[in-house]
């Protein structure tokens, strides 16, 4: 059988398949359907320094081949996570990665600092692409300076362990942002977060989401995500994690061919809670069919 293990900035994964933050809860919700230990890694909910109630309902609407969400980082804060949730989920064999968000640079750094001592957490993914995080009216993830400043602060607060920065697709040049966070010491970049979108109920003449705009995910965004992964993989030397609309094994391989070393699966978990296992199975089968000994061979290979 082919080797599926990959290395993401020092972190060894048994295979390239991870779950995307905010779509997999804390993993426990999926234990009836999958063996979490078989995942390369599982990335859990966006965590912030302080508890957040998130946005008002409605937070979700379906769109053609996609969905808009406006959850708004509802979570109980990093301390609650460390005390109450972490002990329950720290012992899976699979890598546990926490997704970190913040309202300002210090919040990001402080959250990372509190997570740093925990042995069960192998890496953090810093979300600089959340529509609720403002810097001069613009999200950190949409300027090279903003992205660099968050990365610099978190890198200091979170030394030696793997630091992944998750990029926003709502930019003119995502390769520029990727280069900026690489320069500040990120070990890896993951992309894409959601595209900013909007949908209106024409009969009621009002937006479907309480927040008017929200984040678009699902298969609709895949062509944009694959293109961005391809651009970023050519622009940086650190490993790239690809996501955005992966619904099955074929789609996951598409991202790896575009240049991703690993992939994350988001919205697809809602459609089929066992999808991650099927993606791993497909990868094994794909390697066999194509005579590939090591999945790393196909990364960026088009």
């Amino acid at each position: 059988m082919a080797n599926l293990s990959v290395n993401i900035g020092g972190l060894e994964l048994s295979n390239p398949v991870m779950t995307a933050s905010g779509t997999f809860g804390y993993g426990e919700e999926f234990t009836p359907f999958i063996d979490i230990d078989r995942l390369g890694a599982y990335i859990i909910k966006g965590t912030t320094l302080n508890p957040r109630q998130g946005n008002d309902y409605p937070r979700m609407v379906e769109t053609p081949a996609g969905m808009l969400n406006a959850v708004g980082l509802q979570n109980k804060g990093v301390d609650y996570f460390i005390e109450r949730i972490y002990p329950r989920i720290k012992d899976y064999k699979s890598r546990l990665i926490v997704n970190v968000s913040g309202a300002n640079v210090d919040d990001y750094a402080e959250t990372a600092r509190r997570l740093h001592p925990l042995d069960g957490i192998k890496a953090i993914e810093v979300n600089i692409s959340c529509p609720n995080v403002k810097e001069g009216g613009m999200a950190f993830g949409t300027t090279t300076n903003g992205a660099a400043s968050v990365t610099r602060a978190v890198r200091q607060a979170y030394p030696d362990k793997t630091l992944i920065v998750k990029l926003s697709p709502n930019v003119t040049s995502i390769a520029d942002i990727a280069r900026a966070v690489e320069a500040e010491g990120a070990d890896s970049v993951s992309l894409i977060n959601t595209l900013m979108g909007m949908s209106i109920d024409v009969e009621k003449r009002r937006p479907h989401l309480s927040t008017v705009t929200g984040g678009l995910s699902g298969p609709a965004v895949r062509p944009v995500a694959v293109r961005m992964v391809w651009q970023v993989a050519k622009a940086v030397k650190i490993p790239v994690i690809g996501l955005g609309g992966i619904m099955n094994g074929r789609d996951a391989i598409e991202f790896m061919l575009a240049g991703a070393r690993a992939v994350e699966i988001g919205t697809a978990n809602f459609v089929d809670p066992a999808v991650t296992m099927k993606v791993i199975d497909f990868m094994e089968d794909y390697c066999r069919r194509h005579g590939i000994n090591d999945i790393n061979e196909i990364v960026g290979c088009i």
Partner: protein
């Protein structure tokens, strides 16, 4: 234990273009999991323009026949594709989801099950379970017209049925809250239907001090408590309707 499973459609009986009643059995012949009244399933729909599963209440369960029944209103793309399915077709369900209605009550307690439109769906199974546990459940069923009163005969076989229609074509004319039976004393109301109806029933319950459970239909993506899309504001903050509900006691909610 939650599971995701293919089912075979044993029968799909349409009432006009608006509703269908689907009888399903596990495709692999396995036994149905235990399901509680008020729980729901998430149905996978393979049609153009539908990505996410659609939440549908458990309308009835027959463990002997190993069948599960859903009552579906044609509300849009997904449900209209369900209307068109034929016996023998396969369909994928995620089930059983959510917490159901409370079925404990003092012996002999008078229980009123209030349903509006397709909201009657979970009340059939609830009524049967309550009857099995020795209660004599009563139903108060409302609809726009007599033609929209679903499964009336089945409800009658479970208990007394009070009827309201907006156009007066059957039973009392008007909304369920106009029905005289609400002036009687009940131990608990169970209510499922359009939000304005549930809010009106909740107001009646609060006024006359009756315990009251309602079943919410918030928009859902995962059905598993993972996405946090389906939240309802409660006295404990935002909670997931798919895991903490869909049934809530009105005391937990922040209505009015």
């Amino acid at each position: 234990m939650k599971q995701v499973k293919d089912f075979i459609i044993i029968d799909n009986c349409k009432s006009g273009d608006s509703y269908c009643r689907m009888v399903l059995s596990p495709a692999d012949g396995s036994r149905l999991p235990e399901m509680l009244p008020g729980q729901f399933v998430e149905v996978g729909v393979e049609t153009s323009g539908v990505l996410l599963r659609r939440p549908i209440s458990i309308n009835d369960v027959d463990y002997e026949a190993n069948t599960l029944t859903l009552l579906v209103r044609n509300a849009g793309r997904g449900t209209s594709a369900l209307m068109d399915m034929k016996s023998g077709d396969r369909i994928n369900l995620l089930l059983p989801l959510g917490k159901g209605f409370s079925t404990e009550a003092p012996q002999g307690a008078k229980l009123l099950l209030i349903g509006g439109g397709v909201g009657v769906a979970p009340l059939l199974y609830l009524g049967k379970v309550l009857k099995n546990e020795g209660f004599a459940p009563e139903f108060l069923l409302g609809a726009r017209t007599a033609a929209d009163l679903l499964s009336l005969d089945e409800f009658k076989s479970v208990g007394t049925v009070h009827v309201c229609t907006e156009d007066g074509s059957d039973g009392v004319k008007g909304f369920v809250t106009a029905h005289p039976c609400l002036s009687e004393a009940y131990h608990r109301y169970y209510c499922c239907g359009p939000a304005p109806m549930m809010k009106a029933v909740a107001a009646v319950a609060r006024r006359n001090g009756t315990d009251c459970e309602v079943s919410l239909e918030n928009m859902m993506a995962c059905g598993l408590g993972a996405c946090l899309c389906c939240v309802e504001k409660t006295v404990k903050g935002n909670v997931c309707v798919c895991t903490e509900g869909p049934v809530f006691n009105i005391n937990e909610l922040t209505w009015e």
